[in-house]
């Protein structure tokens, strides 16, 4: 392991070997573990590097409870780790300045982050610091290397845009669940760095965790309920199915506004936009604002007793029927399937 002194106060000290090209991926942690969305970002970064014929490197800030050398399995050759200086407290200003300093130090021409809650906070700061064009919520690799054009969702998922970056350096955040994780066998070289003791101004007072739940933004399978379920006391139908298949739970805006479910479960245009592999909607009519948040899901299943519900037009599978009759039988069938 090599040591490198990193100062977030003088990033320009790192303008040394900036002729070399590289892709630098920011790895977002969750209690010392690498988030799934960051594994996707690492794979995206590595494939991008392969396309440009340059090394794929990663940066990790804060304490970890894994062996970072194993990130080599996702195609990165070097992992830069800065653990000290109170970096477990997420401080957009400090974090961005350290990542920007590293990007300059290794001559990174592209910085990749996940469009996670932290990634999307850091990306814009990094882009200003590096004078780099910023594209958030990216869903594809560039098709050619001469002109850097990538796709992203706009109009809350109702359309897609192709955006080209005009600057020589770029910052991207990758839409969660848009890019598959490929695991190889490599080992990365881990380089630890240091930074001055906590010089940030953001003080962490408290963390409140909802334990045991799967983060909705990252979930591959989502079971969601709407007003058709008639009241919070019937959410067992949503939770039982979610529990059986390891899905996250979500709801429509009407349900969150009625306080049947917490606001963080609200998906739709003004809530969270998600793109899971399965979106299973029970008793949701599918208003245009709701569809905007979920229509990027790979498979949509709709259970609704109204055959005219607009959601059926956006669905792949559907049952026109009473959720209170249909759902217990579906749950029983899934239970039998999982018992095999």
């Amino acid at each position: 392991m090599r040591k490198r002194e990193l100062s977030d106060k003088s990033p320009d000290n790192f303008l040394t070997n900036s002729i070399a090209m590289a892709v630098l991926t920011y790895v977002d942690l969750n209690e010392g573990l690498v988030r799934k969305s960051s594994l996707e970002a690492l794979c995206y970064g590595s494939q991008l590097a392969e396309r440009f014929g340059c090394p794929s490197e990663a940066i990790v800030l804060g304490s970890v409870s894994i062996d970072l050398a194993e990130l080599g399995a996702y195609g990165v050759t070097r992992v830069h780790h800065v653990a000290d200086g109170g970096l477990d407290v997420f401080d957009t200003r400090r974090h961005a300045s350290i990542v920007a300093a590293m990007a300059r130090a290794i001559g990174a021409t592209t910085v990749v982050l996940s469009h996670s809650l932290n990634g999307r906070a850091l990306g814009p700061r990094l882009s200003v610091r590096l004078q780099a064009g910023y594209v958030s919520g990216v869903t594809s690799l560039p098709e050619e290397t001469e002109q850097f054009i990538i796709k992203r969702n706009v109009f809350s998922g109702k359309a897609q845009a192709e955006v080209s970056i005009l600057s020589p350096v770029r910052v991207l955040t990758l839409q969660p669940n848009a890019f598959g994780i490929r695991r190889g066998a490599g080992q990365a070289e881990v380089i630890t760095g240091t930074t001055p003791e906590d010089s940030g101004r953001v003080h962490h007072l408290e963390t409140r965790k909802v334990t045991g739940s799967i983060p909705l933004g990252e979930a591959e399978l989502v079971i969601s309920g709407g007003r058709g379920l008639k009241g919070p006391e019937h959410w067992g139908l949503v939770e039982d199915l979610a529990g059986l298949i390891g899905a996250a739970t979500a709801c429509s805006r009407a349900v969150a506004d009625a306080h049947w479910r917490p606001h963080h479960e609200h998906v739709g245009q003004t809530g969270l936009a998600i793109a899971p592999n399965l979106y299973f909607a029970i008793g949701i009519s599918g208003a245009i604002q709701h569809l905007a948040g979920v229509n990027r899901s790979k498979v949509i299943v709709v259970i609704n007793k109204d055959p005219e519900a607009p959601f059926f037009k956006a669905a792949d599978y559907g049952i026109v029927g009473d959720a209170f009759e249909v759902m217990p039988r579906i749950i029983a069938a899934v239970r039998r399937l999982k018992a095999v």
Binding site: V89, T92, R93, A96, L117, N118, R120, A121, G123, P124, R125, S127, V128, G133, Y134, V135, S136, G137, V154, F155, S156, G157, K158, A159, Q160, V163, S164, L166, S167, R201, V202, H203, E206, T207, R208, K209, V210, S213, I214, G217, L221, H263, H264, T270, Q289, A292, R296, V299, V301, V302, K313, A315, Y317, G318, I319, G321, V326, I330, V334, L337
Partner: protein, 247 residues
Amino acid sequence: MKILVCISRTPDTTAKIAFTENSTKFVSEGVQWIINPYDEWYALVRAIEMKEKDPSMLVHLVTVGAVDTEPVIRKALALGGDEAIRVDAEPGDAYQASCMIAEVARQGGYDLILTGKETIDQNGSAVAGMVAELLDVDMVSLAVALECSEGKAKVTREIEGGEEVYEVPLPVVISCQKGMAEARIPNMRGIMAARTKPLRVVAPTAVLPLTVTERYALPAAKVGVKLVAADQPEELVRLLHEEARII
């Protein structure tokens, strides 16, 4: 204390999304324009709530847009705020817009800058962070609660599967989302007052965008729903397992 609220104009949530000129331009004919819901319901209303508690606060609104954005700015002023500033430019990307907002912020010397978490048309989540970096101040994103006192902000922010509470000295930029404030509708007094509130137009800063949208596309239409009979719900489970291979 001075608060700057960043306001963006977006198509109504039910607007038909279509493109013209070789899919390079959004069809705005017949579109109803609204204040971006995150800017309105959370950033602006929270600023108004704070001013109601402490009337000595000044709340300014800023938007970057052509003259046709003024009806939406007046709507925002009808909810509250002392005056509005319109930077007379049609920004090409979030960076260009942020540079212009940052310039307004520098001139005005604000303690608190509020934005929505993203706009519902571009979904970039970029302006808050860019403005903060341009001003070299702190930024907390995705805030669901905010209190300010004695030169400090206490901010609750969403994290995956929970919330975190921070204390950060002013000035600070905060992006706001659901939970921050209760949506309001303007009353007649507000609408009347908005007509005479100052709306200052300032010239744009000379800065070029770093990205350009080449073209738009609409998602491919679904081939059609496969309906399963309500008395055979087990068939749905079989299809999801064997055909879609998803459970």
